[in-house]
Amino acid sequence: MKKNNCILIKLLVYSLFVVLFLGSCKKEESKNYADIMTEGEMEAELTSPPHVPKPVGNRTAVKLKLNMEIKEQEGTMTDGVKYTYWTFGGSVPGSFIRTRVGDEVEFHLKNHPDNKLPHNIDLHAVTGPGGGATSSLVAPGHEKVFSFKVINPGLYVYHCATAPVGMHIANGMYGLILVEPEGGLPPVDKEYYVMQGDFYTQGEYGEKGLQPFDMNKAVKETPDYVVFNGKVGSLTNGGELTAKVGETVRLFVGNGGPNLVSSFHVIGEIFDSVHIEGGSTINKNVQTTLIPAGGAAIVDFKVETPGTFILVDHSIFRAFNKGALGMLKVEGKENKNIYSGTIQEGIYLPEGGTIQKMPGGSTAKTVVPKRTVEEKIKIGKEIFGTTCFACHQSEGQGIPSTFPPLAKSDYLNADSKRAITTILHGLTGEVTVNGKKYNNVMPAQNLSDDEIANVLTYIYNSWGNNKTEITPEMVKALR
């Protein structure tokens, strides 16, 4: 009996060991992709953001020939602001590279003859000295060739690593290289390429003209611009990402830095799955994912309702004041089960649960005193400071490509009735202000006739506007 027991225990321990061992074997990705043989040759497809090359899918590992040209070129940071970008393939971020594990990439790095500087490339997908940088320093008018085998699946950043490294990255020399696992990533309906970067200019945000790089601000890590895909508004005003209700969307999100980490978030969406840090671990149901400088993430989600979904760095002042804002426009049928829209708007009085009456009628009429223009401006300024300034900014300058300016605004000065209705009822859809298109939402403001009259009088009498005086009666007539 005792002996039998002993054997039983031994058996149990043994089987447990076998189960554990096999189990762990199954989980571990122990495959050595370095040993995969390549079959044939292919020219790599390169795309500029927000586009990505076609999925790799089921193809075998190949020798992948890749031609990338470095160009130093002037571009637009935001309206009226020029910047000299250094680019991989003519865009910031650089061309998207798509490979699969086991591919052998033959990289041809070309430095355009008109460029001033030598450059190289450090790909985080490379296992080797400098991620390829050691072998790829290339003078203007020259070409360097090196090759590497991609042996780890994931989404990786590449960047220039020539001295001074920080400056090359700050000028836009970064991009993403995707190494798909065997069999490819699960298919989705839409795939996009979004990469954040911080920029340092000698002038403050929005200061016009060609803005040189500011090394002091870069060292202090105080960027003037934090943007997606190289400039303010690259993913708004016609550059919006698009999808239809019911489609699955995959974003390849990178962060070139050079300094800031990103709290990537899509307002009104929840990521169904996130490849954390671009690696193999998948997290589900994520609101905001952290993307380190020099790191990446793959986020997948299904869009269930129509509308405009805003991509932001949820370090939120960057989004509304430095440019880190993009849009995903989803078209299709509303799904009231998931989102109702506004059902009802009523009055809320915190005093309590007795039956409330709409103010008005003969009882609750407050008498608005007659005010001079100066008084209106004074009161209006206070209202502006608490209600309007966050979007339209302290001097009514607005935020380029996001919130229209009120200063010297042709839209505002053309029609004071329209200005009143905008505050009363809100405004959505495209408007053209001073020749620039804006497409955003201004909510209806909960202000009294007197308050609206005051704030509008203040706005009309500030920043070069046409000095219209608005009265509470005018507001009342339009309410």
Partner: protein
């Protein structure tokens, strides 16, 4: 009599000036400075007195040289002395095409630049000489700590096609030399003695075969981005290379013959 004397001295001075200009060199006085790289001990380097060309060599001057030394023409130069982009913007051996005769010659290899200077009885400046002469602004021998000076140099990196400009349009520095910054890069005789391997971050002092110039470890002034870029540029070159932004000028240890 007095007036005559004055006139004669005036003419003598004038001819002296014109000769100096013909010759196109100015003296640079001996001095010491700490270069960005190369002085891991951060000890100053001594630069002995030398003469430097006032301007970079122009297209017209280089054409003149090629006519006398046809083995350095576009079609005849040997492959080991120049790569395929040698004088790429020239239409043919003796025609620099649409380029301005007073613009700096570029797309020349180190071998050709060296030969040119030798034919003038001169030589290429050393990197230390070049950097020493280039650290002067209009008024100071060493202006490297001046914010505007650095911004001026950096702003050049953001202007394209400056090689199309004529010589002598930037500023005249303390020594009387033009165009050290703002026109083109320039060859130096020992451009590759300080070698930044392609990977600037790994260039540690322990790597003795290469040069010990790490962007983060060994530089004397981490904010001198302009200098970083010059050294990085030189590090990317080989002697047979030629690029559109790279020209040269000559120097001499002894007083140039009139």
């Amino acid at each position: 009599m007095k007036i005559h004397f004055f006139i004669i001295t005036f003419f003598l001075m004038l001819s002296g000036f014109s000769r100096a200009q013909e010759n196109g060199m100015v003296p640079v006085k001996e001095g010491t400075f700490v270069p960005l790289y190369g002085a891991s001990s951060k000890k100053p380097v001594l630069v002995k007195s030398f003469y430097m060309d006032v301007y970079p060599v122009t297209n017209a001057e280089f054409l003149n040289f090629i006519k006398k030394n046809q083995q350095y023409s576009k079609s005849k130069i040997k492959g080991i002395f120049a790569d395929k982009s040698y004088l790429s913007y020239w239409k043919s051996d003796f025609d620099f095409g649409n380029a301005d005769s007073k613009s700096p010659v570029t797309s020349v290899s180190w071998f050709a630049a060296k030969k040119y200077c030798e034919c003038q009885g001169k030589r290429l400046p050393t990197m230390d000489e070049w950097e020493y002469a280039a650290m002067a602004d209009e008024k100071k021998v060493d202006a490297r700590t001046k914010k505007e000076f650095n911004e001026y140099i950096l702003s050049w990196y953001e202007k394209s096609k400056t090689y199309e400009n004529k010589i002598g349009q930037t500023f005249k520095n303390y020594w009387g030399i033009y165009d050290m910054h703002g026109l083109v890069w320039e060859w130096t005789s020992d451009f590759n003695s300080i070698f930044l391997s392609g990977e600037s971050r790994k260039d540690k002092s322990s790597d003795k075969n290469l040069f010990c110039g790490s962007a983060s470890v060994n530089a004397t002034d981490l904010m001198d981005y302009a200098a970083f870029m010059r050294y990085a540029f030189r590090g990317s070159l080989k002697a047979q290379y030629s690029t559109r932004n790279l020209g040269f000028r000559c120097a001499s240890s002894t007083k140039p013959k009139l």
